[in-house]
Amino acid sequence: MDLLVPIAQALLSGVLVGGVYGLLSIGFSLAFGVMRIVNFAHGDLVMYGMYAGVVSAGLGIDPLTIIPISFLLMALLGAAQYMLVFRRFVGRATLQQLLAAIGLGLVLQMLAQIVFGADTRSAPSMFSMRFVTIGPLFVSAAQVVACAIAVLATIGVELLLLRTRWGKAVRAVADDIETAEIVGLSSQAINISAFALACGLAGIAGTVMVTYYPTDPSKGLLLMPIAIIATTIGGLGSIRGSFLGGVFCGVVQQFTAMLWSSALQDVPLYILLLFFIAYRPTGMFGLRTE
């Protein structure tokens, strides 16, 4: 029995943390799945979403209430990024595209550092500092709320892609851009909106995360490997795969922290990534690409 409690605790905390990892991964996965863009600056948009929460908390507004604003701001920033940088790389994840995204990420990170400073900042919501106990298990209320929002957002994106006309158009453009143009779709407009959605999701992920996880300008770069691993394990381009990959990452982190060391909680993930790339590059749910 005394072994069962820590295992259940690690599993529960892992799933709660991982849900938010899932949310930040689906945006990354969407940009790759639709446009074949590997957006290394995605983590920096999450970081900006976190700072949106910090600013609102500074103004005395609960960070959770500004989620729609954060979504819109990051979506606009994403559309601007697409028009300025990524437009010319659609359809091919080349060395140049990766480098451009890295350059963009550095610029975003350093602008945040100049504007907000390098200090760690937090943004408590009304759920922070409250805890839920389920028998012997113990979780933070802010994490439960964040995970719930992440699950809702993921379901929303899935429905948007599978059930709406817009989603159908996005899938058509992702499948075959030329045929989509022939039947009268504007691939440019669809790509912009899909990229903006991907970036808006990063904004939501950041704002819910900052209610329990303090931020600083380097957090974007630190979260990027999680998005990469979750997406590779889940399958590049698959929305539900990336979400489940994020949950899996959270669980692996918690178990590593419990069994080995919390300072090394990401090492097994990196090793897993290598094995997935070598032996199962389409992930668990991935698209068959090229």
């Binding site: 140049q96 480098l99 890295i102 990170q109 390098a118 990401d266 090492v267 990534l273 790339i277």
Partner: protein
């Protein structure tokens, strides 16, 4: 680079026949720098920094410029070169004359495993895997404090000026060591570019399928290029360690370092022998200027902002770098 390179190779002049006089002028200038009047230790230190930066850029250029493989993990090989040299020297008293080659061997083995697992896949996966390996090294180096010094890093035991320990109080000897590295790496790059192996690497970079159809063993070529580049990076890492006398996880395995390693080749011109030299020299001047400017303004991180902007501008509007711009004229 014409895409038909695999089928109809350009006739290559052997390197010696193309020797011109003008590249010798900066070479002589740098060589005379320590004895010129009015040159202080600041100028010498900046020169050594530039030479190390260029050598690291030349090593990365082999795999990324000639081979077209975006390695974001060359910090791993720099770090292995530094840590292996430093740990052997501090803990076992092994001089860098043996420590640096040991670092190169370790780097080669790591590159063999990394490349063996990921180079059969498309380029994106290779890039993502190299990021993962650097971050794993970063966490491991921070955790195993007894071996690596943890977050604070590893400082070499300083014995005073000594050839045996490759240490010196004045930066002057490092100017010559750096110069030897840059010139040697320049000739290695020229040699590889002119060789059959270099031609195969460029064929793989331009069109993997066409290269395979022409009989190039694609995987083997990529793996060999990656290992050569890793060994050169670890070698330059040995110089880095002897000059700076210290290494820490952030400056070895951090993504910031990985990005800095790419700038000389990208700005100077990917896949060219002269590119990293021009780009590294320009970047050093730029970074000294922005550091000076940002200290005046009291802002932190402006130099990295400039790196990011330069990276973005070069990739979007000058993909050929300085050499590409010069050639277009």
């Amino acid at each position: 680079m014409p895409t038909g390179a695999a089928i109809a190779p350009r006739p290559f002049a052997p390197p010696r026949a193309r020797l011109r006089v003008w590249p010798l002028i900066p070479l002589l200038l740098v060589a005379l720098l320590p004895v010129l009047p009015g040159v202080n230790n600041y100028i010498l230190a900046v020169t050594v920094r530039a030479l190390i930066f260029i050598a690291l850029g030349q090593a990365w250029n082999i795999v990324a410029g000639i081979g077209g493989l975006l390695s974001l993990g060359h910090g791993v090989f720099l770090g292995l070169g530094c840590y292996v040299t430093g740990i052997l020297f501090n803990d076992l008293g092994v001089p860098p004359w043996l420590g640096v080659p040991a670092g190169m061997v370790v780097a080669c083995l790591v590159a063999l495993v990394m490349g063996g697992m990921t180079l059969r896949m498309r380029g994106v996966f290779f890039a993502l895997a190299t990021v993962a390996v650097s971050l794993a090294c970063d966490q491991l180096a921070r955790h195993y404090v007894d071996l690596t010094g943890g977050d604070n890093g590893l400082a070499l035991t300083f014995l005073g000026t000594s050839l045996w320990a490759m240490q010196s109080r004045s930066p002057a000897p490092f100017v010559y060591a750096g110069l030897v590295f840059v010139v040697a790496f320049y000739w290695i790059t020229r040699f590889i570019l002119a060789s059959r192996f270099g031609l195969e690497m460029r064929a793989v970079r331009d069109d993997e399928v066409a290269a395979a159809a022409s009989g190039v063993r694609v995987f083997r070529t990529k793996l060999l290029g990656f290992m050569i580049s890793a060994a050169m990076t670890a070698l330059a890492g040995g110089l880095y360690m002897q000059y700076y006398q210290a290494i820490d996880p952030e400056s070895a395995f951090g993504l910031g370092q990985a990005i800095q390693l790419q700038l000389p080749a990208l700005i100077g011109g990917l896949g060219t022998a002269a590119g990293p030299i021009l780009g590294g020299a320009l970047m050093t001047v730029l970074s000294e200027a922005t550091n000076w400017g940002s200290t005046k303004l009291g802002l932190v991180g402006v130099d990295i902002l400039v790196y990011g902007l330069v990276l973005l501008l070069v990739v979007l509007w000058a993909p050929g770098g300085i050499v590409g711009m010069l050639r277009r004229r």
